[in-house]
Amino acid sequence: MSSNGAVRRAWVMLAMMAVLLLAVPFWGMAQEAAPAPPAEAAAPPAAAPAPKVDTGDTAWVLTSTALVLLMTAPGLALFYGGMVRKKNALGTIMHSFIILCVVSVIWVLWGYSLAFGPDKGGWIGGLEWFGLNGVGGDPNADYAATIPHQAFMIFQMMFAVITPALITGAFAERMKFSALLLFVVLWSTLVYSPLAHWVWAATTVGMDKAGNPIQQLGWVRAMGALDFAGGTVVHISSGAAALAAALVIGRRRGFGTDSFMPHNLTLTVLGASLLWFGWFGFNAGSALAAGGGLATSAFVVTNTATATAALTWMFVEWAYRGKPTVLGAASGAVAGLVAITPASGFVGPISSIWIGIGAGVLCFYACIIKGKLGYDDALDVVGVHGVGGTWGALATGLFASKAINSAGADGLFFGNPGQLLIQIKAVLVTWIFVFVASYIILKVVDALVGLRITDEEEKMGLDLAQHHESAYN
C-alpha cells in the first residue's frame, strides 16, 4: 500500500522521533537523587515568606488538570472523530490521542522550560528547567503560591496538549500521520512555547525596597493584555494555525461534490459534553486556587456563556435553515466555551450572557462564510476557535471589571477603553505570529515528509491507509 519511498521516509521520521525521545533522559536523572532538589533557584528570594502548599488549592488544581486532559482525549478526540466519515474515524481520534502523548513528553523535557522558565528578555524562557530540573514540590510564587510548582507545570501541560490537537480539525481526513507527528513537535516548540511565554510568563528577578518582588514579564503580558485561561494562547493560536493548515494542505478530494456528513453525531455530542465538563478545569482551574471566589466566579461565567452560546447558535440556525440542529447546539456550546476562556476570570454572569450571545452569532456566521471562501477547514477550527477566541479576547476588553477580579482591569463598558486597544494588539500579534510561523512550519514539513496522503489512500480512508485498522467491524 505504501511505496518504498514512503517507507523510507517513515523510517527517517521514526529515527528522528526516537532520538528526540531518547537523547535526553540520560541527562537529568541525576537530579532525582539529590536530597534537596535545586528548586530554590526558581523560588522567590528568601526574604519573602516561604509560600505554603494549600491542600484545597492543590486538590482543585490536580482535579482541574485531569479535567483538561479529558478535554483532549476522549473529549476532542470524539468531538472531531464523530464529525468525519467512517473511514477516517480512528485516524482522527488518533490525532488527539497521540498529540496528548507527544506534547506530554516534550513539555516535561523542554516545552515547559521554554514557556515558563527564567525569562530571557520577555521573548522566551531559558532551558534551566529542562527535564523539570528544579521544578519540584515547592510552590513557585511567580505563578501560584499555594500549590506545588509541578502542579502548575502539569496544569499548563494540558493547555500545551490541547492547542495543537485543536488544529487537527483543519486538516482532518487527509493528513499524513508521520507529518502530523513532525508538525506537532515543531509547532509545540516553536510556536506554542514562545507564545505562552509572551502572554503568561513571569520571573522574579529581585526585590524592591518595600520587599515586593520585581518581575520580568512576557512582552504581551507586560503590555497589560488580559487572557485568563488562554483565549489567545490556545484558541486564537489554534485558529490561526488551522487557517494556515487548511491553505497549505488544500481541500479534501471530492470537496463540493461528495457528502462529508458526520459519521456518528452521538460521539460528537459526547465529545462536546466532555469538553464542557473538562472546561471547568480549564477556566476555573486557571484561578490556580479554589478559595477566594475567583475559581467559583470563573466556573459560573463559563457555564453561563456556554449555555447561552449553544442556545444562540441553535436559534440563529433555526431561523436561517428552518431547523435547530444538534450539531449546531453542540458547536455553539464549544464556541461559548472558547469565547469565555480569556474573560472567565474577569467578568460577571450578566456579561457572560452577552459574550455567549456574541459567540453563538459570530461563530455560526463564520462557519457559513467559510463555505463561500472555499478553503477546506474541515471541522471549522477557524470558525469556532479563531473567531470565537478573537471575540473572547476583545470581549474581555469590553466586559472586564475590577469588581470581579481586582488583579485584572476594567474594560470599555466599565470605563476603560484603553483595555480594548491592548486586547486588539494582543489579538493581532497572535494571529500574525501564529499564522506566519505555522505556514512556514507546514511548508517545511511538507518538504521533508509530505503533508498529505495519496489520492488512493484518501479514498481508502485514514484508518486503513495510515493505521491498517478500521473503527468498526
Binding site: 457528502s259 462529508f260 456528513m261 458526520p262 440556525e317 436561517y320 435553515r321 431547523k323 440542529t325 450539531l327 449546531g328 458547536s331 455560526f364 462557519c367 457559513i368 463555505g371 471549522d380
Partner: protein, 112 residues
Amino acid sequence: MKKIEAIIKPFKLDEVKEALTELGVQGMTVTEVKGFGRQKGHKEVYRGAEYVVEFVPKVKVEVVVADGLAQRAVDTIMRMAKTGTIGDGKIFVTPVSEVVRIRTGETGDGAL
C-alpha cells in the same frame, strides 16, 4: 419457481411478513437497501450547510415461491405494503431455475 423481490417501506415489513406466512410461504430473506425514485429524499444540515440526501431507506424482501403461488404472493405483498403515497415501492418477479435446501439437499418446490 419464481423469485419475488419487493422493495417496500421499512415499517411495512412486519405486516408483509405476516401476510405471506398466512399464505403458506415458509421463508423469506430481507435486506436493508437504499432506494432512489420519485419519492424525494430528505434534507440534512451540517454546520449550517444544507445537503439533500436522495436515497431513502427501504427494505428488500426476497421470497422464492412455487409458480402457482407467485401471483397470490405478489398480490398479498401489494395489498400489505401499500400506503397509497409515493415511495411505496416496486415488486419484481424473476424466474428461478433451481432451488436447493442446503440442510437436506432437497431441490425444486420441495426445497422451499
